[in-house]
């Protein structure tokens, strides 16, 4: 069941089209990666979801109903460009932001104390924000994002600026939140964290959505039928005995044996490869190469750019 659906969202700024008929569906209780190069329209999309700006066209459904102003309180948002009032006390400020999200003073105080304890910020309640380290400030920002128990969490580049320890802390919290029922949209360039966390993704490039779906399914469709073979007993070019339709991408000699990457024609399988190989070499291992999200990202973006070149690149 989907928590959130964006239908045909378009948005233009003067001559520049920031989003062009984007459809995105986010299943409930999933971690949804919103990917795309810089300037693709991710932030615009996130701002539309947060009702910071309104789309020119299209609508957003939340829980199957058209999203209204009151749904904003069910969203927690950690913007990419984030900060706090420097001169304000930490606790006071966290309370203020929690109350702006519709919490009562009492409820907010209680929950904030819990989270401040958990993130080791307890002693900092009455200090000014400017006295905190950057990492601590980001913890405070994370806390105020999730404090009101939102159904939908939107993190825009959440890990930028965090040290590795805090990145792990954050990842754990994000997974816990998902397991406790929250749905998470998560915009990033960091493909490693996408592989690690995301169940679904959508890829936006040049204001259009060019790819979306379940991460495993996408990887499957982007498989190139390529295998990596580790073998011994043959040191010349494999192409001497392999059929010409087998494309040897790489072959190199290692300390004990050789490695080769071979792409098979679409109708061939592992067995076909083994059948050709075994008479000549002794195979030690065979693995299918599954494309990383990084590869998919680059491939999808370059493909789209070559088909519909960006208007700005033509002009420049």
């Amino acid at each position: 069941m989907e928590l959130f659906t964006a239908l045909n969202i378009s948005k233009s700024y003067a001559a520049h089209k920031a989003l062009d008929k984007v459809n995105i569906t986010v299943p409930e209780q999933s971690i949804f990666g919103l990917l795309g190069p810089n300037g693709a329209g991710k932030t615009t999309f996130i701002r539309i979801v947060n009702r910071i700006i309104a789309p020119d066209e299209g609508e957003i459904l939340f829980n199957g109903k058209k999203m209204g102003a009151e749904e904003v309180e069910k969203i927690g948002y950690l913007p990419e460009e984030r900060g706090l009032y420097k001169k304000m006390k930490v606790g006071e400020q966290a309370l203020y932001l929690a109350q702006l999200r519709g919490m009562t003073h009492q409820d907010a105080t209680r929950k904030l104390q819990y989270w401040f304890d958990k993130f080791e910020l307890r002693g900092w309640w009455n200090r000014k924000v400017e006295e905190l380290s950057k990492g601590m400030q980001q913890k405070v920002q994370f806390i105020v994002t999730i404090i009101h128990n939102p159904k939908l969490l939107i993190f825009d580049e959440p890990f930028s600026g965090f040290d590795p320890i805090n990145v792990n802390l954050l990842k754990e919290e994000i997974l816990t939140l998902r397991n406790n029922g929250a749905t998470i949209i998560f915009s990033t360039h960091n493909m490693a964290s996408v592989e690690e966390l995301c169940d679904h993704i959508a890829l936006i490039n040049n204001s259009k959505k060019i790819l979306d779906g379940n991460v495993k399914a996408i990887k499957k469709t982007y498989k190139m039928n390529t295998f990596e073979v580790n073998f011994t007993g043959f040191e010349e070019d494999l192409r001497t005995f392999l059929p010409p339709s087998f494309h040897v991408i790489l072959q190199k000699k290692e300390d004990d044996g050789s490695i080769a990457r071979i792409q098979l024609p679409g109708n061939m399988t592992t067995n076909d490869l083994l059948r050709e190989m075994i008479p000549h070499v002794s195979v030690r291992s065979l693995n299918e190469i599954i494309p990383s999200m990084n590869d998919i990202f680059i491939r999808a973006v370059t493909e789209q750019n070559s088909i519909t070149p960006d208007l700005s690149t033509i002009q420049s």
């Binding site: 309180e73 969203i75 948002y77 913007p79 460009e81 984030r82 706090l84 009032y85 702006l100």
Partner: protein, 458 residues
């Protein structure tokens, strides 16, 4: 609505708790009190003896004004016109005229003087008159209640009923015998004072709004907040919050200034009534209405007297809440109008250094109206005065300069309506610029760009 209240509260509390606010709150009254106290002090220390001629047609005050160290009195028995004529020829400092009254006790008087009347002289005369009238009233009261001894009148009731309410108008007589209402002295003071107050209030707190917006933008908290509330709510919350800070400061200033003035003046001289500055305020306000009535027409003495009485009676019917409420209105809406523009500027730039190019169109009408104020005072009913007191960008200062001189009600109301419309208009435009500007970083914004933002739909 609850959220805008939260924003107002934050904006208010963070500013009121600042050290600079507390320092300003203490320094302001010290400065303002000095403005009041120094002239009073100087008047007290001057040794020059002043002679006041008294023309008492009511007959209640004959020989009641006793000579003091600095003030000598002598009594005239002529009519007003000849008294005035001889006054211009003698070296007398002032001519005190107490007109005859038909029924009540004379609580109004006119001081004719060649120059501005010394506040101490005025206060002394007022003091003597009040005491005399209270005495007379008390006598009458005692006569009244004698037959019903043990009646249910308490001391408080009696004290209240005998309270004298003396009003003194001052009129300046030139050496050529030409009369000039000298209350412009008071009106000028009042007009320029309230004009300057509004001017500073707008600048001081308008730029605080602007700095607040820039702070939110540069600290990058803005996106977090406008995902909870509408940009317009945030803008209005900030404007109202800062405005309340200003009002708080203003009220504290007024209270502390009066407190200080009261303490200091009462220690100067026991003769000087502690409420001397207050009195000056009150007389100023009371004189609004008859500003455009002829002071004393060159008629025979009898008509003249009646006319003066009419004017004096009119004074008592004026409610100075009008003056006060129009001050509050122009004070608040002038601020609101400009604060919205200041907020829009703050949203369009990345740092305070970039504000210069946009500040100019806002500061020009403000500084212009400030400079114009002195010309307006010379001709408060002239076409320039009327026009600039209608244009919303200049009306808060100019109208307040004009009001103590007497402005027809329709003009005041028209100006208020225009200012209100101006406020709605600038806030609407500012809201549009603000909405786009606060999310715009690293872009060099010019007027063309701003115009584009205004035209963006939603």
């Amino acid at each position: 609505m609850k959220k805008i209240f939260l924003i107002i509260r934050r904006e208010y509390l963070t500013r009121v708790k600042k050290r600079s606010f507390i320092i300003m709150t203490i320094l302001g009254p010290l400065l303002m009190a000095a403005v009041f106290i120094v002239p009073i002090y100087l008047a007290t220390v001057s040794n020059e003896s002043k002679t006041v001629a008294v023309l008492d047609e009511s007959g209640f005050f004959y020989e009641k004004f006793k000579d003091s160290e600095n003030i000598k009195f002598h009594y005239l028995l002529s009519d007003l016109n000849s008294a005035k004529e001889s006054f211009t020829k003698t070296g007398d400092y002032a001519l005190l005229y107490i007109p005859k009254t038909a029924v009540s006790l004379p609580e109004n008087a006119i001081i004719y003087a060649k120059s501005q009347v010394n506040i101490m002289v005025k206060s002394y005369i007022k003091d003597v008159m009040s005491r005399q009238i209270e005495e007379l009233k008390l006598e009458a009261k005692i006569r009244d209640i004698q037959p019903t001894t043990g009646g249910n009148l308490t001391t408080d009731d009696i004290l209240r009923s005998i309270k004298a309410n003396v009003d003194i108008t001052t009129i300046k007589i030139g050496s050529n015998g030409k009369e000039e209402k000298s209350y412009p002295e008071v009106s000028m003071f009042l007009g320029i004072f309230s004009g300057i107050l509004i001017y500073f209030f707008i600048f001081l707190f308008g730029s605080q709004v602007m700095r607040g917006v820039i702070e939110e933008k540069t600290s990058r908290i803005i996106e977090l907040i406008i995902s909870s509330v509408k940009p317009f709510q945030l803008m209005m919350g900030k404007i109202i919050g800062v405005g309340l800070v200003g009002l708080t400061q203003f009220l504290l200033w007024v209270i502390l200034t009066f407190g200080l003035v009261t303490i200091v003046t009462s220690s100067f001289s026991t003769r000087l009534k502690p409420n001397a500055p207050t009195e000056q305020f009150m007389t100023g306000q009371n004189q609004i209405i008859h500003a455009d009535k002829p002071a004393s027409p060159p008629n025979p003495a009898k008509d003249n007297k009646d006319n003066v009485n009419e004017v004096l009676d009119a004074i008592n019917t004026i409610d100075f809440p009008v003056m006060l409420s129009s001050f509050l209105f122009f004070f608040l809406f002038g601020y609101l109008l400009y604060a919205a523009l200041f907020a829009a500027i703050g949203s369009a730039v990345d740092s305070e250094a970039d504000t210069q190019q946009f500040m100019l169109p806002i500061t020009i009408p403000l500084i212009f109206s400030f400079v114009m104020a002195q010309y307006i005072m010379q001709e408060p009913q002239g076409p320039m005065a009327i026009w600039f007191s209608m244009i919303p960008l200049t009306s808060p200062v100019i109208m307040m300069v004009r009001i103590p001189f007497g402005v027809p009600y329709y003009q005041v109301i028209l100006s208020m309506v225009l200012l209100l419309l101006g406020f709605l208009g600038t806030t609407w435009i500012a809201g549009k610029i603000y909405r786009t500007g606060i999310l715009m970083y690293g872009k060099k914004v010019n007027y063309k760009e701003l115009w584009k933002w205004i035209r963006y739909k939603n």
